[in-house]
Symmetry: C2
Subunit: 469 residues, 2 copies
């Protein structure tokens, strides 16, 4: 892993993530300009503090707001400067930000080390050090903080749905992985704490970001797309600190020799051996995602479910085939079915109709309704041999309707044992999945996704328990 001298130690990201005032340098009336889209987003999401559009060619106003030719003309305190001017012009405007005592910057412009312009990147690092002005980027999307409505993304709201407020912080070295995953998150049942796309990491890097999120009360889970680490030792230290408190789900891009080389030209990161990374990651309690999809799978189980170290998962289903596939998925992922206690079996036999085979996985039958599910779950809940639940509800079946979705949602709420649900289907199913997800139960389209997620939760729970000893 490459090392670099850190220009600023103990960077505080508060002014960058939750600024009280923002200057957009490169603001423009021209719709196709990045600076225009950023201004538009600030207006659309309703940023509460003052916004100062800056453009060297500025006339009186830009997009209806008093504009300035230079940040030095503002003469009011500016927490965050969002810089969207051509790379060549960045050192000059950053220098001006320093002089104007701006607290932090997001440099969205590309055209630095990722295209061979190490000179330009060095120049802005030097300026950052000189003025103690930390910045995120360059070559990044920057920040979205739904609580303070800080939003530096130069992607129009019409093209990317904005997630609701929640406890998942999503950090991405890559802008494209960041923005498309953010768009997907908006369709999920969980919400966002902060989104941070940090690009070339010339100054603020993964270590600084994790340091901030470690103590951030809004962040309950961290989801991370990473291509390379610049300060290996410090990274491990901060990871240990964070995973002792909250989970980090990580996807590492640049695994194969060609992937590594692609990652290098992409964000100028030196990607190390994937296997070496993975071994280290697991050792320090990181939850490793192997695919993009898994970032969301794991985020939602961590965001909503209690930790649990037990791996005996009760499966109940209204479709036999799904029970079979779910059982396979459990065992493949280091989980197992519980041996039900005699008392549980007795109670179930009494509560269930004769056609229900009292065994794990338990197939309640295609006609099973809310009542039957409820009865089964309440009995299983009291079995000390059951550590968690995979509840499969196929809404194509005759017995499954809104009351079933509500019953599952109610059962899962505030439970001490983790519960995940599986519903596979289209229109009718999705509307019922929404009911369940609104109450905070993670719903997956396949038993495999659900089993992987429970497995990730249990693995992290065990790490945390071990490391607390």
């Amino acid at each position: 892993m490459a090392r670099k001298t850190k220009s600023i130690s103990g960077v505080d990201l508060t002014q960058i993530i939750k600024p009280r005032s923002v200057a957009v340098i490169g603001a423009s009336e021209k719709e196709e300009k990045v600076g225009h889209v950023i201004m538009q987003n600030y207006l659309d999401v309703g940023f509460q503090g003052p916004i100062y559009p800056i453009n060297i060619k500025a006339q009186e106003k830009i997009m209806g707001i008093q504009a300035y030719k230079s940040i030095l003309d503002v003469k009011k305190p500016v927490d965050l400067a969002v810089i969207a001017v051509p790379a060549e012009a960045v050192p000059h405007v950053l220098e001006q930000c320093g002089k104007a005592k701006v607290k932090g910057a997001v440099i969205v412009s590309g055209g630095f080390e990722e295209v061979g312009r190490k000179d330009l990147q060095d120049a802005i690092k030097t300026i950052s050090k000189k003025y103690r002005l930390p910045f995120i980027g360059p070559n990044c999307l920057g920040i979205m903080d739904p609580r303070s409505r800080n939003d530096t993304l130069f992607l129009p709201t019409s093209k990317i749905d904005r997630p609701k407020i929640g406890g998942v912080s999503f950090v991405s070295q890559s802008g494209s992985v960041g923005s498309s995953t953010l768009d997907l998150i908006s369709g999920e049942g969980f919400g966002l704490a902060h989104f941070i796309s940090y690009g070339n990491a010339a100054v603020v890097d993964e270590v600084d970001i994790l340091n901030y999120l470690a103590d951030d009360p809004e962040t309950r889970v961290i989801v991370f797309y990473l291509e390379g680490v610049q300060r290996g030792k410090e990274f491990i230290e901060v990871v240990k600190k964070v995973t002792g408190k909250k989970p980090i789900v990580i996807l590492k891009g640049g695994e194969t020799p060609s992937g590594v080389s692609a990652a290098h030209s992409h964000t100028a990161a030196l990607a190390g051996s994937y296997e070496a990374y993975k071994a280290v990651f697991r050792q320090f309690g990181l939850t490793v995602a192997e695919e993009l999809e898994e970032l969301l799978y794991y985020a939602k189980v961590f965001e909503t479910q209690p930790l649990s170290t037990g791996n005996r998962i009760a499966i109940i289903t209204n479709g036999g085939g799904h029970g079979v596939i779910a059982t396979d998925a459990l065992y493949r992922n280091g989980l197992m079915l519980p041996n039900l206690s005699r008392e549980t079996e007795k109670s179930l036999r009494k509560a269930m109709p004769k056609i229900v085979n009292i065994a794990m996985p338990m197939d309640l039958g295609g006609e099973a309704d809310a009542k039957r599910y409820q009865a089964a779950l309440e009995i299983l809940e009291n079995d000390p041999n059951v550590d968690g639940f995979m509840v499969i509800t196929l809404f194509q079946t005759p017995g499954a309707d809104e009351s079933l979705a509500s019953a599952i949602a109610k059962f899962a709420t505030g439970r001490k044992k983790p519960v995940v649900a599986v519903s596979t289907g289209s229109t009718y199913t999705r509307s019922h999945v929404s009911i369940m997800e609104a109450s905070g139960i993670p719903v997956y389209e396949s038993p495999t996704a659900a089993a992987k997620s429970l497995s990730a939760l249990i693995e992290y729970s065990r790490y945390k328990e071990e490391s607390a000893k």
Copy 2:
């Protein structure tokens, strides 16, 4: 693997899959009855031939149609009897079907070998043999044939979307896996030839079904969910016959010891060792899906793309991170990036703006539009070192719009090299994915899904080429 004596050899499923007339035995005015839902579905989908509702308590009409107390009262030729009466009554009505010279039956009723009633199952097998009356089931959903509008599913159309007409035949031992996957297929860009859920396989089994589909011109791809095989030797023989002509994608449930036992109580199939199955499957050209999701991934690449034995896949993208992840996914799945020819590199350098790095994966930049994609694809298409394409279009980016979706769709149409697309996102993205899928290009949400699918296509292409020698 268990063996059974086959009661009927050379079963012809034509009358069951594409009947000219249908009797619904157990038809009912009562909405909660399976026989009611089946009748309703026939009326909703608009089955063209005569429908005869049969119910022992029938008055003049059921659901507005002339009803009969027994199939023997119909006195007109009936191709297919759909039987939805309690298990105990099935032998009697099946015997009557035999006497009435019905050509085939679908027994949807459960309550046979899967709940320990081998006696009942044996009874209906004997009747089937006696009258040479083949049936599908018992304990199944039966048939959906969108072309002839034959639809024995007892799942209301409000709960399950019906797929459009196409070339994928989906066969499932399990009704729940069948119906929920069918529901998912309806949201995909590809269409259905036949759906066959065959449950306990008392008479018509996987061998008979594959035999029918082998020569069925409507079926271009077979997707199969299987828990166990009853006639191992014949199964392998028919698989060899089919895979020499068209691909079979198979998901085998009941992998682990507990999964096996779950599968047994589910459809009374004796599930063998998964690893043993898998080795045999691959040897005979079956495409093995490890997860439910992969059934759809592979179905859509086989349904739409030409076969290809070359594994050098050109990646173009408008997001660097996706290029990195896609490259990792290629190599993990036995594929690789091409070494572009000098001529290609020269042409690309001329056609692309300076910021585009002429290398694989090729990041066209976040501002890349339809024109830039088109130019790159047309040059790459002519490179003999390129065997196929993964085209990543992230619609969150400024340059991506409807014209990009149309350009990709146009490029992919009728191409001799396989093309798969990747678009990750929500509302805006999905509407553009629809444009691409309508033209027959398979679009995946993640690079991993796309790479797995290309890999499956190439593996099967190689098998077919080898086996034709």
